[in-house]
Structures are given as C-alpha cells and as structure tokens.
Amino acid sequence: MPSSRFSGAKGLSQKPGFLVSMKHHPGFLGLITVCLWLALGHQVYAAQLTNRQVQISTATPSAVAAHAFSLTYPTTNSVGSVVFLYCINSPLFSDPCTAPAGINVATASLSSQSGNVGFSIDNGNTTANRLVLTRPSSPGLTVASSYNFNTITNPSAGGTSIFVRISTHISTDGTGSITDNGAVAFATIAPFDISTFVPPFLRLCVAITVAPDCSSGSGDSINLGNLTPSAASAGASQLAAATNSNSGYAVYALGTTMTSGNNIIPALSSPTPSLPGNSQFGINLRANNLPPVGQDPFGAGSATPTPNYNIANFFMFQPGDMIASDSQPTDYNRMTVSYLVNVSAAQPPGVYNTTFTYLAVAQF
C-alpha cells in the first residue's frame, strides 16, 4: 500500500505544468494536500492493541455484570473514541458482526478508567452490542489502560464464546477508519451446582466402654460378684449419643430391677444414697465415691443426665425413665451409668440378674 501512495505522488510530479499552475493557486494546492492526507490516512494499517483482556464479574448468562477491559495502546495516534463491539460469530474485524442474543451494553456505566483517560460513554452512538467511549480527540499514550463498565447484561446463551472487538478511532463517535484494534473473548457459562444431603442424625452407642464419638465400644455384661450385706456392689456401663435434631434427644433406660426367679432386689424409687445391708438397686450417671463407681458426663455435646440421675452418690431406678436428654442439636456426650446393688441379710440367695435396654429418641 505505501508504494501506491508514492506512485500517486510521482504521478503528480510527472506533470510539471500542473504543478506550475498550482503554484499560482495555493488554496487549491492545500485542498489537494488535505485530500491526499485523507487518502493516505485510510491506507495506514491499524496496529494491534496489546495485553488486552476482559474480566467479567460473572459468566452467568443474562446476568447483569461488570466488564473490565485492559489493553495497551500501541501507538500515539490520536484517539477520540473507543468502540467495544460484541460479536458472537468472529473476532475478526473483516467479518460481519452477529450480535449475541441478550447482550445489552446500552445500560452500561463507566465506573472507572485508567491510562488513556478522559472518556465518557457516547450514548448517542451506543447500541445493544456496541459500546462507544468518546472524548476530544487527542494523542494516545502507549500505556496500559483500563475501562471498567458496570450494569452490562450478559448474553443469554450459556456455553458460548463472546468476542469483543475493540477499536480506537480519531473521530469522537466511533466512526471512520480504525486507528488501532484488537479483540478479546469471554465465555458465558451456567452456574455449576454442587449438592449434597445431610440426613437426620441420631447416634447412640452402648457398651461397657464406648469411645466418646461412638467410634468403638466393647463389652455387654457386668458381673457384680457375690453380693454381701456388708458392702455395696457396683458396676458401670457407658453410652454415647448425639443428634442434629433441632429438638435434641432423650435416652431412656428400659429394664427391671435385679431378680432371681420370684426374688427381687427392690429398685429405689427416688434418689437415695447407698446403704449397705439394705436391699437396693439403682443407677445414676455421675462420678460417685460412695461407692466409688462411675464418671461424670464427657464430651463436646450439651446433653445432661436428667435430674434424678444426676446426683452423685444418689441412685434410683424407675423402669422406662428418661435418664439423659438435650433440647437442641448436640455433639456427642458419653454418659457412664453406674449400677448400685445392696442386699440385706434376709435377701434370699440366688443368681440375680437384669437386662437393660437403652432407647434414644429424637424428633425431626
């Protein structure tokens, strides 16, 4: 192309008479000069805008988003306008532009700018897919520049690549020849969902010993040995419970007092201290020293023994009693159930035993 410029000039110089005549018409010569300058201006190749990118605040289709453009001007050519043309078919300026469905940059606001500044949105020349920035035409600076827009409506289709053709112009309305240009791209993508389900939890474990989080347990029987009126007999088992029920949980002790055929060891109907020599059967959930048996509740949870079973050294047992509870979601608590047995001298001989079942109830 430059060669044609020079050949054109040469063509004029080869007509000396023409030139001589123009010397007498300086105005006409000036007009020719202007025309030539304009013609040559159209023949200058546009340089590439460099380091260009667009960062979108959301890739969600149809979302109202912020689009932040970064680019570096490659030349100091005068710039009076910058055009951002959104196309779905091609980033090439030589191709026709197909506007992405749903795109709307007409509502955009210019939130900030840097580098080559002084622009405002040219609302008169901005359309749904063509955003024009305007300023009085002035030389560009070869520096990194940014233009951040808010309230742009993303294209409505997901899974597509959108190209934004960026061009600078000497004119202030985005028309005329392109000075510098370049394209950027972004993709619209539907939000990605990650889902899961948390079920109702009610965890209860019972054994002679259990881990605080029910991860282990062992043992299912206690042998109290030979009962004697002169000393209390005691043993212990453990249970742990937790729930995510909003109303917490309750643990019930089901079973009977110790029996041997028709002979029974009477259960204590209210919290009562251990009295060796008196037939007694009872439980509690605390650490005791009379007799030394049991542990206090342990764990990160907030459950507690019910009051009748929450007094150290006092025992009772009412079949079906709620022995521990919480009124809210609670992490694990490990409860140690102490079993107290005393017999009188008149207690009939025999092998006494009982079976306890623990029931946890939660409401979801």
Binding site: A59, A187, T196, F201
Partner: protein
C-alpha cells in the same frame, strides 16, 4: 543430347563443389581473422547464477556466479554483461542496475588475490549499469574446477515474470584485451511476481465447565468443549464418619467430578477462576448451605451452612464440618498432542494449578493435599497458563463432611467459573 547434358551437368556439379570447397577453405582461413576473440574461448561449464531475491527492483540483491573454467589459463579479468537474450545483440534488462555493485566474496579460485570491481573497465569491458568489470593481478594458473564469485548491492530488473541473462567472459589479462579471452558462458535468472499471502488468526477461547465421570488425568473427558455437558454434581449423603469426595457413587452421589476445559491461543496465557455465587439467606452465602436459611457468623456447626475451608488449602477431618474443592489433576486426555506434548504425569502441560487447589502437590492425580473454597463471592484463581492452552481439562473434585450437629436437609453451593485470556 542426353549424354551431353549429363556431361555438362556433371561439370557444373563438380565446379560447384570446387567453388564451395574453396569458399569453405577461405572462410575457415579468414574466420580466425574475422573473429579472433572467440577463436580460442571455451565454454564455461556447470555455470549458474543465484540471486538472493527474485523481487522486481529489489535494490540490495546479491548475485552469485558459479561455474567451472574450461581452460587452465590464469584468469585476471571478468566481464559480466546482463542482457534480455542469451545470444545475439544485447539489450539491458529494464530496471537492472549494476551501478552500486560491490564485490562480495569469491571461492574456488586459484591464486590468493581476490577480484575487485573495476568501475570503468577497459578494452573489451566497459563498466555500465548492465556490465560488471572485475579484475585482479594474479597469474596463477587455474584448474578445471568449480568456483564462484558474488557481487552485492545490485538492483534487480523491474519487469516481473521475465528471464534475463548474464553473459560471462573470462580474460587472462586484467585489462580485458580481446585476445586474452579464456572462456565464455551464459547463465540465466528470472524476476518473479511477489506473491503476498494474507491470513488472519482469530482470537480463540473455548472454555466450558461441566460434570464428568472421568477421575484421572489421562482419560479423555470429551473431544473438546462441545462434548462437555452437565451443570451440577452430587456428592451424596453426608455422614460425619466420612469425608465425601467426588466422585461419590453411593448414598445419592452421582459419580461425577466437575471439569473445566480450556482452549485458547492467547499468547500471554489465561487464568481460570471461580466465584462462589451468593445464595439467599443470612451469613455464609457462598458455601454449601441450605438455600434461604439463616446461619450464624463465624465457624458454627449447628446451622444449615457447612463451614468452608477458605482460600488456604487444608485437609479435612471426618466429622469436623468442612467444604472445599481441589483440582485432582490436569487432564490431557482431550489434548490432541499435535501442538505440544501434554502429559500430566511428566509435568508437560500448560495450565498450572494454583497451589491452594493443587490436589496432590505434584503430578500425581489425587486430593491428598486437601481442599479450599472461597465463600466470599470474590474470584479466586485456581489455575493459570503463561502461553496457549489446547483442551486441557481441570478435574474439579469437591469434598465435604458434616458435623454430627449439622442440621439435616439439602445443601447446595454454586460456582461461577470464568477464564480470562490475555491476547
């Protein structure tokens, strides 16, 4: 009569034969006198002309003449004449100019003295825009071998797609006397039309996010982004005794991982980031939560928002409420290996994971390094390249574990993935 005619005919024929023979003998005897210069010249053999550019009017062309001399005589003068024809009257090719020619280099010549451009010439060689005269003073006998000499800063002929010829004459004297011609020969070259090929490479960005059953770095996820589908995955029913890590195939899990595949020709590379979409409710809007629920600020395990790991990667403990994501590996199964080698195991890939989303901390597929999740709604970069990327797929693995107190219900998180190429 017939005999007489025949006799006369024979007589005429014999006379014509004698005359022709005499003329031939006279002509042969005079020829050396008429054309004394070429009488002893032999043909240069294996001769060629190589020009550095075939562009018309190119002004800095280099012309390299290569030939084998036929005689062993010394060579001290060279005449190179450009013509539009190989033989006959010489017309200079339009536009060709030797006016600025300079001596370039020579090789294969016997004798240590190089030729030099003779700006004026003498006798049989007159330097001009179409004639190069070069000489030296070196009487070394030549061998019948190949040699070359190059002249620079020559302006090519201006007419495209036409041939032109260089007539070469060697002299045993450095003043080009007619009687000192040693060998001659002609070479040809051509000026061609410059062919301009225009092409445009458009900016490319193919970026997609979906779900996949692929759980390694080698199996192809899809041919390219057009084969990536799905907008969700399910990591199944949580249990405080375990850590659910995608893909989960039991208890409601859909056996899927997430995948983010990128292709771009952005020479300055690209970044891949995600943003936790803020859901409705109170506090912890960007984590795995029950939509619309009210959650407490801070780290709480009794509200319907599973605590997020945050932007710093960490390992999970079963039963300690947590939610996060990592990249198990950079899957090269969809990379065609045509543009560059892509192999995760050997570290040959362009899309590099951010340290906080590097599943195994190396080029082994997995999640042993733990997970991260930024619930704030700001973009957090998970991978980046510094050059082009061709269908490399990030295998996204999501993990969560509840506390025993985590309220029951359906939990969900949403992520907004973006790729930002820099062209």
């Amino acid at each position: 009569m017939l005999k007489l005619r025949d006799k006369h005919l024979r007589l005429y024929t014999a006379k014509a034969l004698y005359v022709s023979t005499c003329l031939a003998l006279i002509g042969a005897g005079l020829l050396p006198l008429l054309v004394p210069r070429s009488a002893s010249a032999l043909q240069l053999t294996s001769r060629s002309l190589s020009i550095s550019t075939g562009v018309a009017s190119a002004s800095t062309a280099q012309y390299t003449f290569t030939f084998t001399v036929a005689s062993t005589s010394d060579v001290e003068g060279l005449k190179l004449q450009a013509c539009t024809t190989a033989v006959g009257t010489c017309s200079a090719p339009a536009g060709l100019s030797f006016s600025s020619r300079t001596f370039g280099t020579q090789s294969g010549w016997q004798g240590a003295t190089n030729f030099a451009v003779d700006a004026t010439g003498a006798n049989d060689c007159t330097a001009s825009a179409s004639v190069i005269c070069a000489n030296r003073t070196d009487a070394t006998a030549q061998t019948v071998t190949s040699r070359s000499i190059r002249f620079d800063t020559i302006t090519n002929p201006s007419t495209v797609n036409t041939a032109f010829f260089l007539r070469i004459t060697t002299y045993s004297t450095n003043n080009y006397t007619g009687g000192s011609i040693v060998d001659t020969g002609t070479v040809a070259s051509a000026i061609t039309q410059t062919l301009t090929v225009n092409a445009a490479v458009a900016e490319v960005l193919n970026f997609c996010v979906g779900s996949t059953t692929v759980d390694d770095a080698t199996t192809s996820v899809a041919g390219d982004c057009t084969g990536v589908s799905g907008t969700s995955l399910n990591i199944g029913t949580l249990d405080p005794a375990t850590i659910n890590i995608s893909p989960v195939s039991t208890n409601g899990g859909d056996s899927n991982n997430g995948v983010a595949m990128l292709r771009t020709n952005a020479a300055s590379g690209a970044t891949v980031s995600y943003r936790a979409i803020q859901q409705s409710g109170t506090n912890h809007l960007g984590t795995l939560r029950v939509s619309g629920a009210s959650c407490n600020a801070g780290t709480v395990s009794t509200d319907p928002c599973i605590n997020a790991q945050g932007t710093t990667q960490g390992t999970f403990t079963a039963g300690t409420e947590n939610y996060g994501m990592t990249i198990g590996g950079v899957n090269c199964g969809s990379n065609p290996d045509t543009n560059y080698n892509c192999d995760f195991a050997s570290g040959a890939y362009n899309l590099v994971r951010d340290a906080n989303y590097d599943g195994n901390g190396g080029n082994t597929y997995g999640t042993s390094q733990g997970f991260a999740w930024d619930e704030t709604g700001t973009f957090d970069q998970v991978a980046a390249s510094t050059t082009v990327v061709d269908d490399e797929a990030l295998i996204l693995r999501f993990a969560s574990t509840p506390a025993i107190t985590t309220p029951f219900g359906s939990y969900a998180a949403q992520a907004d993935f973006v790729a930002v190429p820099t062209y």
